[in-house]
Amino acid sequence: AIMQGENVSKPVLQVINTRAIATGNGPPRYRVLMSDGVNTLSSFMLATQLNSLVEEERLSAQCICQVNRFIVNSLKDGRRVVILMDLDVLKTADKVGGNIGNPVPYNEGQGQQRSSAPAANAAPSKPQQQNGNLSAAGPAAPKYHAPSNQFGKASAPSSVKTPGGSQAKVVPIASLNPYQSKWTICARVTQKGQIRTWSNSRGEGKLFSIELVDESGEIRATAFNDQADKFFPLIELNKVYYFTKGNLKTANKQYTAVKNDYEITFTSETSVVPCDDAQHLPSVQFEFVSISDLENTPKDSIVDVIGICKSYEDVTKITVKANNREVSKRNVHLMDTSGKLVTATLWGNEAEQFDGSRQPVIAIKGARVSDFGGRSLSVMSSSTVFINPDSPEAFKLRGWYEFDSEGQLLECASISDVRGGPASGANTNWKTLFEAKSENLGQGDKADYFSCVGTVVHLRKENCMYQACPSQDCNKKVIDQQNGLYRCEKCDREFPNFKYRMMLLVTIADCLEYQWVTCFQESAEFILGQNAAFLGELKEKNEQAFEEVFQNANFNTYEFRIRVKLETYNDESRIKATAMDVKPVNYREYSKRLIASIRRNAQLG
């Protein structure tokens, strides 16, 4: 009945023999000779995911198995192949002992072998009776109903229900090759690229590419010009279609990571028809890399990632110098259960249409790892971005983020170091001064950056300003020529004036430690509350007012962004700290951090 295309549920069959078929560059396919006690049929192929069963010898000659899922594919020569997608081994070969019954090879169109009750009822009742008979170790002709009863039926109808009456004999993608021009595959679109246009000396054109997958494998297909126009609106990501008749040619591995020697080009004869019966096709397969592992992933590799979009930036337009085109881009920040945050860059349409509100789960297939700012991800034209995908990892992430309180309070350390004050505080590296000292920040070759909350406890009034070159971008100290002129060595010029620049040494402290920090112009002006020029005047004219400014600045608390680095000056190396940015304390964020920190430490316990 299986051969007639009937929907037999979970037939129980005996394996008579297995044979490996080499497929060139891929895992071996196993062809299985199966028997139902009455007939044997060799047109059974094992789906590659079940290969391990044969390799581990669980599925071997004479074992009994129950097929849970199978599909019938019709080859173009009229033969039918049953692909076994999922089966359970009920009894291994050694327990069976021999072939059950005396099966003869099945020929399509053969007459009735057994006159028993209709096959439709045969299958469900078979398993129970099968078990009963097996214990008797199989004399011939056990009393179960053979499913192969309806031989009288013509073999014409194909097992695939195609609309419009087209004779679609579906072949597996793995069997496609350039020597066959008439084929039909039933596949799911796992990736759909955008329409790309080009113009070169030979003219202009446009194309878009898709990746297709079925149980036997995957393949890339490209549609050019007219076919691109025709099919781009029709073909949707993640849907299943019958694709008929296209050109096969050797794949250009440069453009794709798809595992197939060939790729399809749509022609004017190609037809694409939606397929309804698609449950058996695998949907998009992901192999997620955890964000913390990305730090060890080499640059330019292609990965799949999934994470909660903790924050995202606005879309910006930048001009690509190469071809003077404007391109939209947007950075989004993804976080996963490892607590690490990574910045992913979206381009073009995806950047513009992105909606990160309500912190969705984002899955990206085929993103490229770059070493920009440590590690970050770039979404390419061949990548696909899924928002809130229907997959178990997505649900797990959502559950962790919303219900496990840790999820939202987790201080994520960003592996893509976003410098320069991001709007969301999620990327800053908060430390207490004690932690900064004990972790020996700044000892390495590079400068280390961290943020902390500290209170000003001392300011050094002496030498807090110097006379600097008045030119726009030059801050070099000028030499007083004593004749009313000031010389700047860097600009190699003399000026009649100078500008005061601040270089204020401040001691800041928190509950455990203190630190000397140098504050330049902007930070110093913020802390003192006056600009440099005014202070310069005060210093010369009104000492008392000058002192008062410093008194008022003392014992104020701010958020500092600090850069520490080991610097060598005249054979002496010292750790120097500079304040890059000084801001008023955002108490809400600060208390949230403290509360999270307390809770975390309490849990450790």
Binding site: Y587, R588, S591, K592, I595, I598, R599, A602
Partner: protein
């Protein structure tokens, strides 16, 4: 009852009222309703629960927003208010839920937050 200001007073939320009857406390909440006579206020705390505050003298001005009330807890689990301070919300809004979180921590770790 003026001594309330001399004695350390615990910060509490509505849930803790029952355990502190007769004790001097400090309660922070948002004004929900003012009784027409001006003698009673209803404040809501960070969890949204309501507390009634009784004033020793009726209010002579309109108040709204977040208040910090210092007083004693009565037998009916209301607060007899001795003095109050209005929190300024012009610079940034006062996050009452966050305050509530902090309160929970204070009560969870009394060894680090001793009340006198």
């Amino acid at each position: 009852m003026e001594d309330v200001h001399e004695v350390p007073r615990k910060r509490i939320a509505t849930g803790h009222l029952a355990q502190h009857i007769g004790k001097p406390v400090c309660f922070v909440g948002r004004v929900e309703k003012i009784h027409p006579t001006g003698k009673f206020l209803v404040l809501s705390d960070g969890e949204g629960k309501h507390t009634t505050v009784e004033l020793s003298e009726p209010l002579d001005e309109e108040i709204s927003g977040v208040l910090e009330v210092v007083g004693r807890v009565t037998n009916q689990a209301t607060i007899m208010c001795m003095s109050y301070v209005q929190f300024r919300e012009d610079k940034s809004p006062f996050d009452l839920e966050l305050y509530n979180e902090a309160l929970k921590i204070i009560h969870e770790f009394p060894e680090y937050f001793p009340f006198g």
